[in-house]
């Protein structure tokens, strides 16, 4: 009953303040507008004409050709006779890519591989690569494509999805959690309104949960807004079709969603704990900004350290990032995801306990 009242108060505070609602939804809208604008500048809407060297046969070739034709693009298939010559042609801008399929590719059996070589410095190259990768995922290919670029820069496309999207998701969730949690916990402590609640007979655990549960729900709205902003602007920004997202299975989506949901209370609890320990919103936001940068860096690092496997799933938040990276790269990582979700929930429960202790501590709550 008291917990319910505490939760209602947080929801009332948020949903009756248009300023807070706008603050929560604005990042998503701005991200969409900004990324779309950048994409508009970077990519033209002119139809593309591709020259692609082809090695091996697959029904996928027909799907690619048809898809491109529907987009108003043209593709000319050239037989791959001399790979060195073909690579030189791509580098010179005379051809778009080399596409290779192993003999048994359409059977998707052992050893079935697809490969692509393209120029990631060329707009046509990036467009073609993202289109092909989205088609391959769409037809049910569940292993990585052998990607090579004629230059040494990293490839973009589905690799962008698997490498950067989890990091962006963590970043958006962190930002959304920060904007409501700092104000609600550190702000209330600074203003003395939290102490007024502490004088009532409400249990300290209920007060801690009465913050974390509703703030998590509210933060999810903000995180969803930012995520939608990125997802909707991606076709323009990266030349990546949303079809690439549509190629994942329902299970993949559910797992990613579950991982995202499990991250939110974890981060809210972490920010709440830091806020309870701080004397002011300013002090708390300083500490939380450092934590956010740390999580962002670690989220990126995990993608480039191949040995980050099993043990990484057990690290709160980071485990979920690793699991999302695996899923977006075409894997499923069910057990890893379950472990990551479990660890996130365990970590949240631990932080609720810590917050309960902090709310009971006179030095923390009433110390000068």
């Amino acid at each position: 009953m008291k917990l319910l009242s505490l939760m209602k108060k947080e929801f009332h505070r948020f949903f009756h303040d248009p300023r807070l609602i706008v603050t929560m939804l604005l990042p998503g809208i701005l991200i969409f507008l900004l990324y779309t604008f950048i994409g508009e500048i970077a990519y033209s809407d002119e139809p593309h004409e591709f020259k692609v060297y082809l090695s091996g046969e697959s029904a996928v070739v027909g799907v690619i050709e048809q898809g491109l034709r529907e987009n108003g693009d043209k593709v000319e298939w050239l037989p791959l006779e001399d790979e060195e010559e073909a690579r030189a042609a791509i580098e010179e801008g005379e051809a778009t890519a080399i596409l290779t399929f192993t003999e048994n590719f359409d059977l998707l059996g052992e050893g079935a591989r697809a490969g692509i070589v393209y120029d990631d410095g060329s707009e046509d190259g990036i467009y073609f690569y993202s289109f092909v990768s989205s088609v391959l995922i769409g037809v049910g290919m569940r292993f990585p494509i052998d990607v090579e670029t004629v230059k040494e820069d990293a490839a973009v496309g589905t690799e962008f999805l698997s490498a950067l999207l989890p990091m962006l998701i963590v970043c958006f969730i962190f930002s959304a959690c920060m904007s409501v949690t700092l104000e609600s916990v550190a702000g209330e402590k600074e203003r003395g309104t939290l102490a007024t609640i502490l004088v009532t007979s409400a249990k300290r655990r209920d007060i801690a949960l009465g913050k974390i549960l509703p703030l998590s729900c509210i933060s999810m709205i903000g995180a969803a807004s930012s995520f939608l902003g990125v997802a909707l602007s991606m076709p323009k920004l990266m030349g990546v079709s949303l079809g690439a997202l549509g190629g994942y299975s329902v299970w993949s989506y559910l797992l990613v969603l579950l991982l995202m949901i499990s991250i939110v209370p974890c981060i809210v609890a972490l920010i709440s704990t830091v806020s309870a320990l701080s004397r002011s919103v300013k002090e708390a936001s300083g500490y939380v900004s450092v934590l956010m940068i740390l999580f962002m860096v670690l989220s990126l690092v995990t993608n480039f350290v191949p040995s980050m496997g099993g043990p990484a799933y057990a690290i709160p938040v980071l485990g979920a990032v690793v699991a999302m990276q695996k899923i977006l790269a075409g894997g499923l990582a069910v057990w890893g995801s379950c472990l990551a979700v479990g660890m996130n929930l365990l970590f949240t429960a631990l932080l609720v306990f810590v917050m309960t202790r902090l709310f009971s501590s006179e030095r923390i709550m009433f110390g000068k």
Binding site: M1, K203, F366
Partner: protein, 257 residues
Amino acid sequence: MEEIVRAEGLKKTFTLSKKQQKIERTGETRRVAVNGLSFSAYRGEIYGLLGPNGAGKTTTLRMLSTLIKPDEGDAFLAGHSVVKEPEKVRDVIGFMTSELKLEGFFTPDYLFDFFGAMHGVGKDVLAIRKKELFARFGIDKFAEVQVKNLSTGMLQKVSLVISIVHDPEVIIFDEPTNGLDVLTAKVVTDFLLELKAMGKSILLSTHIFSLVEKICDRVGIIIDGKLAAEGTLGEIAKGDLEKTFFEIYHSVKGEIL
């Protein structure tokens, strides 16, 4: 007379930070704020803890309201121990201090309901109390105005009314008129007298002699965390509280002010 508040050998020691040591130019790392304090207040009376700044009044009231724990000793409010039953104590007391604030975004109406729920008051009882208290203290016209938009006097009234939302047996008030203008101070003293008329027991701390003389039935003089004198005004002061206070202060501290 029925005892409603009983403090038994309350002791509280704080650690001084390096910064505090520097400000106070002292080498001591520990400071005894309250040192074996014992006193009793009776049902239906206004009891005043009188003492200079730093005497331990606020620390004592914080221990009684369960915001901080005593290092030694215990206190009983309406029969509940502050050490063993802090949640039950919080349900029988209303605590007011300038450090406790109301969220400016909400209205008095919302906050009354919220704090009522925090104390486990039923909706029907809450509605009756709200109607009665809001009308009695003139809050009804401002019930839907956000707290941040209320005048200082009205805000003080709202804070006072919300502190007694659960009809507590004991009202604890730390420095009730400190820092208030004369009009708001009058609102507070009138409120306390009203509460007394309603049969409530009130425990307050102050360093203002006139406030004690005006509203307190009994007074406890606290110096250096210890009770130096206790009794009715007639028993302690014999006419001049201020003069008596400084005589006691001199006899305890050995300092001439």
